[in-house]
Amino acid sequence: MQNKTRKGAVEKLATGIRGFDEVLEGGVPKGRSTLITGASGTGKTVILNEFLYRGIIQFKENGVYVTFEEDKKDIIKNVKNFGWNYNALIAQKKLTFVDAGALKGVIFESGTNYDFSPLIERVKYALKKVKAKRLVMDSIDSLFSRFQNKDAIRQALYQIVAELKDLGVTALLTGEKVGEEKGLTRYGVEEFVADGAIELELIKGQQQFLRRMFVVKFRGIGFRSGIVEFEITDQGLVVYPKIPIERIVAKTDFKIRKAFGIKGLDEILGGGIPLGHMVLISGNTGTGKTMFGMHFLTQGMREGENAVFLALEEPVEQVKKTALVHGWDFNRSEKEGKIRFVSTSLIDIANDKLLYQIVSAVECINAKRVVVDSISTLMSATMNQEQVRQFLVQLVAYFKRKGVTCVMNYLSPVSFGAVRGQLLSSLMTNEIRLSSMTDGIIMLLFVERDQKIKKLLSVLKMRGSEHATEIFSFEIEKGGIKMGEKYKE
């Protein structure tokens, strides 16, 4: 009994909208009606259009568009921007409209002794005409706003939804959410028309609007909870699903080590970073964090492992230039499909979108090594502490599942750890907080000795693995990092 009500009781229908089906764990409930709600301008109509369009193009499922608001001609014109030719689909009897927008002339209501059976008949007629499997209705509120007899509207909607269920037609209906009022729609239709509801919202960022959606409820149906981001692109909607956290399937292996290719450092680490581990390289500006990352990826490519570099700290071109100085031709590697660079605008970073970009890059070339340069950039950009934490949790979970080994750079404000014993005490709270998510921490520090600034390295933590605990000096030379002696006072 319990299982039945919790999951699998209702079949899902894939919408075909990128990312959307993943969020819904397969799609919308098949043969049911789902409400899309949100304030005006949140993208409700785009979802409806794409649901119909993808249905026809990808799944050979014909569709009916019931419009109470926009003119049929305007809808056809609007979707042309996405390159979708509705006129052709109409001619091929794959799509049809129930055009029920407001009329220009005066309509006189004489009492409330009327019903909406023509609407029902028209919907039935349209469904039959194209043998529809999908239907959309936009929007229920505009129908309500035009007629006095609200009960008759409710009754008609109820009958239409029942008819759709009988015919096994899957529907998306829109309703308008007004302010922070209780309920999902102005007229409270969600209670009787929909088995599920998805709410859309538009958030003001610093430079642009961020679109978000979340599943409000799905009766007895599984879905991925939480807010997800989406975008309206020139090819339609892209939803950025969160990465599911499945710790059980972690592909980590202590026996397999991923070397940096830096003589001395790999020995300190016991051969390198264990497969599937995430290591934080912490240090102030100029300590060489990015350089360690470059070594790590170059060594990987040398061993036939593809790489992804998340360049948040500096522009990709600059990273490539620096690399070239040391003899690493990332441009060529990129052309050969061995490395991919991911970058993003540092204002209004969309968490889920960035994750999606990284995941896409990794999947695309089956990358096994990733460098994130750097986590601190995310923090100083628009992401707050909690967002960064969530971002990392998802990223790390994904990497572990894929067996990707990762180096993440972290800009530590601490620069000088002069005296013995100060190394640890100078650890910042942020690093400690991040520490629970990371498998290892390598600390880079400056030290002032003999009127010179020296660079020091220490492996602070390497989960489940032996490593040297001493402090080592190192230099950045042409050709990369050169490890030095154990550091002595």
Binding site: F108, S117, R122
Partner: protein, 93 residues
């Protein structure tokens, strides 16, 4: 006498409500417009395509096509004054 008033009445099936609407309307029209009107009664169950063309959402809906302007009344057709007002017609008498 030439037909001066062209009307369409949309109803749903042979329900009592439909039949009442037809009866009431004919009574009103026969009082003042006998011989100069044409009325077409359309059942949306039989002709959903016509309902689609005329964008009919509710029944009964009465449409006055001629003389202009086009007017629509939905709901009760038993009150003569309301019907004529809604159709933008003034009683002859």
């Amino acid at each position: 006498m030439p037909v001066k008033y062209v009307l369409k009445l949309y109803v749903t099936g042979l329900t009592p409500r439909s039949q009442d609407a037809v009866k009431s309307l004919k009574k009103i029209l026969n009082e003042d417009y006998k011989g100069v009107y044409s009325l077409r009664v359309i059942d949306v169950v039989k002709h959903p395509n016509l309902a689609e063309d005329d964008k009919i959402l509710a029944t009964p809906t009465l449409i006055k096509i001629l003389p202009p302007p086009v007017r629509r009344i939905i709901g009760d057709l038993s009150n003569k004054e309301k019907v004529l007002l809604g159709l933008d017609l003034v009683a002859v008498r």
